[in-house]
Point group: C2
Chain length 337, copies 2
């Protein structure tokens, strides 16, 4: 697609109108759609496509590609509080694909299935005239009216993130030799965070009934929190120093506030950003302990601000910092609808 | 993919093992998977991918591409007796894609949605480094235990097809100037059958409770009937002269038995081939009248034959004819799992 062709615009302009007939499609503004199948249960469906040379290096190993494709979809379900059930997969394979490649790819899928308790349900295999392209549709389920939406945040809610933020962006920058790592273990840790996202499925399931709104951090913390704000007609105020960083990331951003701020725009972390009322904070800490994943309060939901950026970032002195959500655009080449 | 790389083999070897955990995936041998969502109703999921220059000409107009993609998926649901609900769509767009192209493509989707009562539910839009690639996941629903499987055919059942067979293959041959049409209206009729398949959704819904097994004719009548035979551990005997042809097709195959036989191997008709016990023949004729679509008895299910080809084609004198299911391989470049 030409670079001046904005995918969000495409979606809003051409595809959102096509989703009007189904309330569960949420106007294509959410990570997944839900369908009422029968009283009590609803199917949750999400889909992601990835292309070699666009979303991963041409030389990437097939197990990693399989893992990434499954995990980014699971992350979408996690943000909805949905239990993953299974998935369909479309493969467009270039002429150079070898049986070994397919075997390793399938093994990668098998590993993911075992880890996450999901099953391949079907799909389509075809020939590509260009690069490898894969698309995956993940089906999950939720009980009636328990799906966590982007639109549920209320003024006064606390804002949380799971895990740590910015590692994937640093990992990609390391892979592309745009920055240097202090040491090899740190490099490996950060690169792995990009290559092998860790979808917060158990956290997501635990958030049902606690979180008022949620999204996964795929486009970047500020961008994805902004999605919540827009859907909920609120604004958000977060404190830079509260955003949890890994030791590796903290090492890289010490005395470098621009890079530190940039982490808030870095995508591909596949953590969850969510809002919750203050009276569930103890339950959230219990959930964090139970899942072994940090859940850190980073700010609060405020009344919708007059300024266009719904997410305000402040330093520890309360000074507003410039952290647009465009910082990751140089790295990020895909947009979900 | 290299030409010596058989997709069926890939599926059986690498992907079918991944589907073992979910009975509703049917070992990836069926057109769609079903998931029990709650007592009473099940979701039915199918997925197809198409690539420019592989499944349609690079110059094909976007409305036609949209229509074809939606319709081949609806055809899968029709073969299951499922009611279509909605779909997700992944688009990988080359750099040359124009807004006009996307607008026309979306309009094509809108037209299909109106005709078939379905809704876009979500998806993913990304960049392609090569040609346009699209994949679509269609979600339908069936009541418990009513999904028509490939595996339900019994010895003594009648074999039927909807509509007419072979038109799409002739249409493609005309488009590629491999054969000549007697006149323009006939050419248009056949080419349209290839470009704009007519999924038999209403027929499929009506077949619930009547058909013992069904598949859609995507790979070719013999090949798809063979799928039913293998899944049902039976063989089939059909009579060449009973297979319904359009007037246009009949004109082209008169005095040309090889071409006539070849139509039975021609894919992309997206008609339904199904089996049914003899005692529902009147109900089937009533369904045909109600839907305005011919349902023609073309043969019967017999005990599994010792010979490898499960589908035996005979002429009107009972003489066995050679009609392998490989006849369409020259045209057909995709395989479903």
């Amino acid at each position: 697609m030409p670079s001046d062709f904005d995918e969000f615009e495409i979606i809003e302009r051409y595809f959102a109108p096509l989703a009007r007939g189904e309330p569960g499609a949420f106007g294509l503004t959410d990570d997944a759609a839900e369908l009422t199948i029968a009283p009590g249960k609803r199917a949750v469906i999400t889909m992601d496509a990835i292309v070699a040379g666009v979303h991963f290096p041409l030389s990437e190993d097939p197990k990693t590609i399989a893992g990434r494709l499954v995990r980014v979809n699971l992350s979408d379900l996690a943000a909805k509080g949905a239990r993953p059930r299974g998935y369909t997969l479309a493969l467009a394979l270039p002429d150079t694909t070898t049986p070994d490649w397919v075997a390793a790819f399938a093994q990668g899928l098998a590993d993911e299935q075992e880890e996450f308790g999901i099953t391949l349900l079907g799909g389509d295999t075809t020939r590509s005239r260009g690069e490898l392209m894969l698309s995956l549709t993940m089906i999950g389920e939720v009980s009636d009216n328990t799906m966590i939406l982007r639109s549920g945040a209320s003024v006064g809610d606390d804002i949380y993130v799971s895990g740590t933020i910015g590692d994937a962006m640093l990992g990609l920058a390391l892979m592309e030799n745009r920055i240097e790592a202090p040491d090899d273990p740190m490099r490996t840790e950060l690169v792995d965070r990009f290559r092998r996202p860790n979808p917060r499925v158990t956290v997501g399931l635990g958030l049902v009934g606690l979180a008022s709104a949620a999204a996964d951090v795929s486009d970047g913390l500020v961008a994805d929190l902004n999605h919540i704000c827009r859907a909920s007609t609120v604004s958000a105020e977060i404190e830079l120093e509260s955003v949890p960083l890994s030791l590796a990331a903290r090492g890289l951003v010490t005395d470098n506030q621009p890079l530190h701020l940039n982490l808030l725009s870095g995508g591909d972390d596949y953590e969850l950003v969510f809002t919750a009322p203050g009276n569930v904070s103890e339950q959230l800490q219990a959930l964090a302990a139970q899942c072994g994943v940090g859940l850190t309060r980073i700010g609060r939901v405020i009344a919708q601000d007059a300024q266009p950026d719904a997410v305000i970032v402040r330093d520890s002195n309360g000074k507003q910092l410039e952290a647009g959500d465009g910082g990751y655009k140089h790295f990020r080449r895909r947009r979900k609808r």
